[in-house]
Amino acid sequence: MATEPANPEADASATAPSAACIKFDQVVKRFGSNTVLDHLDFSVDRGERVTLIGPSGSGKTTILRLLMTLEKVNDGVIWVDDEPFSHMRTPGGQLRPANEKHLSAIRRKIGMVFQQFNLFPNMRVLQNITEAPIHVLGQDRAKAEARARELLEMVGLGDRADAHPSQLSGGQQQRVAIARALAMDPEILLLDEVTSALDPELVADVLNVLRDVARETDITMLIVTHEMQFARDVSHRVLMFDHGRIVESGPPDQIFGNPTEERTQRFLRAVLEER
């Protein structure tokens, strides 16, 4: 990573920023000359479920991919549990670019479910779920498999443990992907349009699984979705993005029921008309 934070000394000497679980601090992300995130600031509290909405290209996926370490920031700092993320502290208190070990420690806390599921086709359903717990967390096989079967039961696929991913419908694959992410016991779960690739009749099952997860766990969730009713049901807060900036933010009832910004109103009307 070639970039340095805007002011390393100042950042490092600052005490723990807050109780925030995730904090974006003046984050800049560019692809070539295209500035996707322009000095973005926002934070998410522990256990909070936040939905990101906004038009295509507004940078929602980029935010999740930065958190998953699939992209690197150009400037600014991301904090997770008060640890700088793209940078790490030296013993002297300086910040320097993160190495692989530091990134791995951060990733350990974060799970992600992708729009296209991305199950491993060379592994059966059960192994998709147990692979990382066994080989990354070092759990023993029996324990990992027992937990995987519990999770499969929870997502309604208790009888498909031995299937190949290619033998499952999209909705079933996505539920396996959710189980796979949960098997790593993430503190933070990132969901990027997890129902967008599904046939309409398969969407409900996936969303119901996620409603259960929201109800029964205290996992911090960052959700990108066009399913407005779902967002209303599960999120504590909604952030409306446009051009990599937050246009409006507030509780779902306010954003969906009574948005103040003209841009939000226009976006929500467009989404409704699509249905």
């Binding site: 350990r108 060379n122 990382a132 299937a163 992410a181 790593m184």
Partner: protein, 248 residues
């Protein structure tokens, strides 16, 4: 025709040793090529410039200079520098390096053809780079490599008559002698053709079984075991075709 069988009878032990040499050179050369394909192919993808550059040089060198000349060089020129190599060793080395260079591109290309989201899913599960490669990417890439490796292996088989250039009696060489002694070109060369056809078919058969097995791991087709079980057993929902196809 009688002279032909008589001559053949006389050289029969040498015929079989010729066939064996052809098989031996193909399998040993193929094995070396296989190992080099992975070593060079992975080096071609390395982030370290030196490793990448070295692999690129080796690959371009052996693809760009003829195997014919390499054999001569190894066998006739190296002794001048003080290295006397056994003929079979020269042959296996030349075949291995040549086909390893082509194989390296197969390995590299097959790995690159696995979509990026598979790597990303590995990152999201906090797998190390090595785990992502070994446990996720290579098993998928392997299924794509096999048919291309099959082609190389058949080509290698068909290159083995070059061994006669370094004084080795492969099956083609032996049958040339039979032809000269008997005067029956049709029978002599017909038999050689048949030998290569059978060998190529056997290699293809084995490689196809490997491919079926690799694909079955990906949930495609019914796998090798599917060949021996009744067709009525359903392969599960959405298992596409490809079953039972063996042979060139």
């Amino acid at each position: 025709m009688d002279t032909f069988f008589h001559q053949l009878d006389l050289v029969l032990p040498r015929f079989w040793s010729g066939v064996w040499l052809t098989v031996e050179a193909t399998l040993l050369g193929g094995a070396l090529a296989f190992v080099l394909s992975f070593v060079l192919g992975l080096m071609l993808r390395s982030e370290t410039l030196v490793l990448r550059g070295l692999a690129r040089f080796v690959v371009e060198f052996f693809r760009g200079t003829s195997i014919f000349v390499q054999l001569f060089f190894l066998f006739y020129a190296l002794p001048g520098l003080g290295f006397q190599l056994a003929p079979l060793f020269c042959g296996v080395l030349a075949f291995g390096l040549n086909y390893g260079a082509y194989g390296a591109e197969i390995v590299r290309g097959s790995i690159n053809s696995i979509p990026a989201p598979q790597w990303e899913a590995g990152v999201a599960l906090n797998m190390t780079a090595g785990q992502r490669m070994r446990r996720v990417i290579l098993p998928q890439a392997w299924a794509r490599m096999i048919p291309q490796f099959t082609n190389l292996l058949i080509q290698l088989l068909k290159d083995t008559p070059l061994l006669s250039l370094i004084l080795m009696a492969d099956v083609t060489y032996v049958m040339q002698q039979v032809r000269q002694a008997s005067g029956n070109s049709i029978a002599a060369y017909g038999l050689v053709l048949l030998v290569y056809l059978v060998l190529a078919y056997l290699l293809t058969l084995i490689m196809n079984l490997l491919e079926m097995q690799a694909k079955a791991k990906l949930g495609e087709g019914r796998g090798v075991r599917g060949l021996f079980t009744a067709r009525t057993a359903p392969g599960g929902a959405g298992s596409p075709g490809g079953e039972g196809v063996v042979g060139p």
